[in-house]
């Protein structure tokens, strides 16, 4: 008897009792569906984090005011920001590992183009900002030196903002938009990054201070809300970080033993740690889901043992007609395998549907991974083999003479 014949016999036997077959494979269905779903959600969460890490840029350090870190209340109170443009200059000039550094201030405002308008983040910064974040232009150019020095009325739009303000086919470059009644010329549109990162409009730092945000938030002429700096190499992050800390403590005259009035962060590292946590949770959930696969396997074994008992006479007949022990074993093993494979296939379909539903309803990103599906199917085949073996072995060991005597 060949494998194919084994599967034919198995399918025939299972078709005779569809409800029982379905109930038998239900455990596998649920197990595989949960594994696929958990994998999809876990992979989606990791994907989102990786996107965020990528959108920050590689080897980026972020320097924020200490006060802002404690809740941001002082910022609103009009207390002065602790970092200044000259800090940016000092970091760039005195720390050799730093390739580029840019200070930013940010706020939200309505941007208007003809009949369309959009509420977005206005970020005042310098061209170095884009260098730090490896952010390329989709069209146009960066700010010129003159525009940066002289509060030029120019704007570089994030991809999302460009899409909100301009219809498809319309060229934003050279168009006039207005922010807080100030007309600005669009000189550049940025490449797409993460959806959350694309919703921004950049103006020169001087423009932001003089024309929008300066008066509104009481910023002194020289201060910035945060600084981002690019470190030359992977291995130099820690060194660069402590040098920045030393430099800023010195410049801000923070006495020894007193808390810094700034904070240097490595956002990518923080997110990587988060990613590790997500991975751990996902693995834990997969382990839990595997338990239901185990239960499914046990249920298959149980039904198969009952089935072997029920069909003792059939086994006797098959043996008398020339079925070898291994033919009988193959027949029952094939039944278990078909149950598991079918259950696995239904489970994969269910898992894919479930994770897509979760993605739509909860708004999570899910990522259906071919590898996870393959893994789930391999698991279900293994379950079939492991839990089908004993009943099949038992069937093959029946004495044909005894088996023919049973009613």
């Amino acid at each position: 008897m060949t494998m194919l014949q084994g599967f034919q016999i198995a399918l025939h036997a299972l078709r005779l009792n569809p409800l029982r077959s379905f109930l038998t494979m239900l455990g596998i269905v649920i197990g595989v569906a949960s594994i696929v779903t958990v994998f999809a959600i876990g992979a989606g969460a990791q994907l989102r984090l990786q996107e965020q890490i990528r959108s920050i840029g590689a080897n980026v350090l972020m320097i924020t005011p200490g006060a802002a870190y404690q809740g941001g209340v002082r910022l609103k109170d009009g207390s002065k920001l602790t970092m200044t443009e000259s800090d940016v200059q000092a970091i760039l000039e005195q720390i050799p590992e730093i390739q580029a550094a840019a200070g930013s201030i940010a706020g939200t405002a309505q941007v208007i183009h003809e009949s369309k308008n959009w509420n977005t983040t206005i970020n005042g910064t310098t061209t170095a900002h884009f260098m730090v974040r490896d952010w390329q232009l989709a069209a146009g150019r960066y700010f010129s030196n003159a525009e940066e020095a002289g509060a030029g009325k120019v704007v570089i739009l994030g991809n999302r903002v460009a899409r909100e303000l301009f219809t498809a086919g319309e060229d934003p470059i050279g168009a006039q938009i207005r922010i807080m009644k100030v007309p600005l010329e669009v000189v550049g549109v940025l490449d797409r990054k993460d959806p959350a990162q694309d919703d921004v409009a950049f103006v020169p730092l001087s423009t932001a201070k003089l024309r929008f945000l300066g008066s509104a938030s009481n910023i002194n002429r020289d201060s910035v809300a945060y600084i981002i700096a690019k470190v030359a190499g992977d291995g130099q992050m820690a060194g660069a970080r402590s040098e920045i800390e030393n430099l800023l403590r010195q410049r801000h005259r923070v006495p020894a033993g007193q808390e810094d009035d700034f904070k240097v962060q490595d956002p990518a590292a923080a997110m990587e740690a988060q990613q590790g946590a997500i991975r751990t949770v996902a693995l834990l959930l997969v382990a839990i889901a595997s338990v239901s696969l185990l239960v499914g396997g046990i249920s298959i074994m149980n039904v198969m043992i009952v089935s072997v008992t029920e069909r003792t006479r059939e086994i006797g007949i098959r043996r008398a007609l020339g079925g070898r022990m291994r033919d009988i074993r193959l027949q029952f093993l094939c039944e278990a395998l078909v149950l598991c494979l079918l259950g696995g296939a239904i489970g994969v379909a269910g898992g894919v549907t479930l994770s897509m539903t979760v993605a739509r309803m909860a708004g999570w990103i899910t990522s259906i991974d071919g590898q996870a599906i393959a893994l789930a199917l391999v698991f279900s085949i293994a379950t079939g083999l492991i839990f089908g073996f004993y009943p099949a072995h038992k069937a093959s060991k029946l004495s044909p003479i005894e088996a023919l005597k049973t009613e």
Binding site: R313, A320, L321, G322, G323, R324, D327, P400, I401
Partner: protein, 241 residues
Amino acid sequence: MTASPPLISLRSVSRTYRTDGIAVTAVRNVSFDIAQGEIAAVMGPSGSGKSTLMNMIGLLDLPSEGAIYLQGADVAGLSEDRRSSLRARSIGFVFQSYNLLARHDAIENVALPLVYCGISRKERLARAEQSLRAVGMLHRAHHFPRQLSGGEQQRVAIARALIASPLIVLADEPTGALDSRTGAEILALFAALNQTGQTIVMITHDPGIATQCRRTIRLHDGELVADETQAMVLPKRSVAP
């Protein structure tokens, strides 16, 4: 003795079962030959060892002592799986209770032994049709056993026994569950098959049936008590010398 060995030879065959430490000898020191083309009845009251003997001839069981030769080859040395393969090709079983698989229709039941001969489904079904035609059951090919009468089921079972062109058909009380008229029809079918040269060994406790077979082997308490070849009851066979 001719040059070719008998189809089946039993030489001092005994079979002892051991249950709960008590040895029961079901067959004791039995020897006989079955030649190609013979039709023989194995007779005896219940418990005389008929079924045990049939299981051994059918390679389902092995003797505790003595030897069984199938076409001159000792079967004792064969593994369980080798005996199964040999059974698929050489032995056709007919049982008292038909033993058709209830969930398969007639033609699939008939084709079943060929699954274990490694024959493709297409050829299996083609040969099953032939076999069903030979027993006059082709019109019932797609009926399930429960839709068939006892006599019809037994005909399907005979078609199944014949499909692999076995060396020997072993029938265990083939008319035991049938009324006398249907039983007679089944016996006539066996007789007709024998006339085509099919070797048949039939186990029965019914003397009426035994008289229709040319040769009768009588068992009592596991021992062979008589091996008689009577004058022809059935129409003459034309067997080449």
